[in-house]
Amino acid sequence: MLISNMEVVPGKRITRHLGMVQGSTVRAKHAGRDLMASFKNVFGGELKGYTELLSESRDEALERLQQQATALGANAVVNVRFSTSSIAAGASEIFVYGTAVIVEDR
């Protein structure tokens, strides 16, 4: 599956639009990580645990987006956008959306 955040696909022609597809996931980190994070708030620096967590959730959201696109019979998703929101103290939502299309070689 071709995933791109541009509205055109180089070397290919979009033959059909199949509508919007989306994927989202809400994740929380465990208490230990939260504790480590509050220590880090004193010393500063990168929170590697959170970075990993968020990139895992992003992969998961993209996975769901692809499943939806496959179900529609698409072979590409274009104009993909990411969005993040913290819905509660310890949890954040990752949302990804795009347009499912069928592309052909030019």
Binding site: L2, G44, T51
Partner: protein
Amino acid sequence: MGFLVFLTLLILGYLFGRLAESRHYKSIIEREDALRSLPLVPIRIPPPELMKHESQLVTGSVVISVDYFKTVAASLRQLIGGRVGAYETLIDRARREALLRMQEEANALGADAVYNIKYETSRIGDNAGKGLGSVEVLAYGTALIPSASK
């Protein structure tokens, strides 16, 4: 006693925070120099000469925490207003780090350029309400990889 704890945290935050920041900036500048040859362009549609390339989504993200000193410095600054230098460097580091990670991913794929770059910023953590807490930056774009067949 309370004041002593505050002072200790302040000093620890200042020392470790400064150390982390100068190390991080050093590494950012080194890696930026090393990857200078891979152009990152926030233009929506690539020029015709890149129109034969394969495209693939690349992302880079980072979560960076404030230190105690920055939190205190920023809350003092909020009394008089003006530029909050403590947070400016924090966000700057996060943005550049996220972009670098994206660039590294594109470089590993053998891309010629990355087009249509977008940023996404959010705050996370418990004290997101009180201060800045931690800031997450995601950079993403489309890597254009020369196709082997053509």
